[in-house]
Assembly symmetry: C2
Homo-oligomer: 203 residues x 2
């Protein structure tokens, strides 16, 4: 729950503020938070005693807004949570890896093309990150470590770019996907270039 961290950083805040902040970081992308979940999270954190509802103002006939603050217990909890995320490593789930594991279901030429396309998209992403790194907006108005996060994304993307091109090459070269042991059999084509694998009982 990194919402706790946001509240801690912006307190006192009401839900909509948090929502806006997350939106401006387009945090729905790299965090796991859709706007709908915020209010539930705030209420849950409150009932766990990590937050405290500080006030409920109302302007005109608009919906009332509740303002929150972090309690001492919340401060503690955030500290352990944060420390935990910093010290332990955890493979985040990646839809592309999942898709890649179905490589044999893709026609070879499409797979190679898609990988090259991915490399290009990555390159474009890096480019635009470099650009905003140079831009005054990030250089002057944003804390330095925001730029550092961009560097991390760039570094990862660059590595992946190289990989995409290497693998596209290999796929084009026509090497078999089969485990070395049964490389004499000829199965495993995709739905495009032939019948289904003749039940090789792999694994």
């Amino acid at each position: 729950m990194m919402i706790l961290g946001l509240v801690r950083w912006m307190q006192p805040v009401h839900g909509y503020d948090v929502r806006r902040e997350l939106l401006s970081w387009s945090a729905d992308k790299w965090a796991n938070i859709q706007p709908g979940s915020i209010y539930h999270a705030l209420r849950k954190l409150t009932e766990e005693g990590l937050l405290r509802a500080v006030a409920t103002e109302q302007v005109g006939a608009r919906p009332a807004r509740t303002t929150y603050e972090v309690t001492v217990k919340g401060e503690d909890e955030f500290e352990t949570l944060l420390r935990n995320s910093w010290w332990t490593i955890s493979e985040p789930p990646d839809p592309f890896v999942a898709a890649f594991s179905f490589l044999p279901a893709m026609p070879r030429d499409e797979a190679a093309a898609a990988l090259r396309n991915r490399a290009n998209q990555l390159r474009a992403g890096i480019e635009s990150m470099r650009a905003s790194l140079e831009s005054d907006w990030v250089r002057n108005r944003k804390p330095a470590h925001v730029g550092w996060m961009f560097e991390l994304w760039s570094a990862r993307a660059e590595a992946e770019m190289g990989w995409c091109e290497r693998i596209a090459e290999r796929i084009d070269s026509g090497v078999s996907y089969l485990p070395a042991e049964l490389d004499e059999a000829q199965g495993w084509s995709g739905w495009k270039d032939g019948a289904e694998p003749p039940d090789t009982d792999a694994e």
Copy 2:
């Protein structure tokens, strides 16, 4: 829903088979699937007409098991889903990035130490992946593209390793986190080395 893909690949299967396969790929790590969700997914896919329940056998008094197959519609849907994942890029959510965005809340020395520790963990991960790449088990019994996935993870990890060390250096060097514009103010220390940021109203 990449469960569909698994069923397509292993059909005919029952839920527990899928669960075992996912477990053996330790897919709860890099995919988004805990064993509990499988049965719900199967039922949902069935009622959407993408799967078809093929039989419900029962051995002795053990729980009955239902076997599924992919329908033609399911085949189609899988094709579009898969193609979509191959051609479009999507930043997966990464808890570390989220944690890193709270850098100013960490004491400098701990942050640097954690980053160096992370670099080491990454190095160890790469090492063990290299090892299993060399191992006969992967080289002979597993399809080639499984090894290629390992290469992707390695490449990303290597890039991240470098980044960790660079950033640790910077943090040690004591550069300010503040946006260049207000670098004369002195706020923003963590909970460890001082008071909270004096409400710089950043963004």
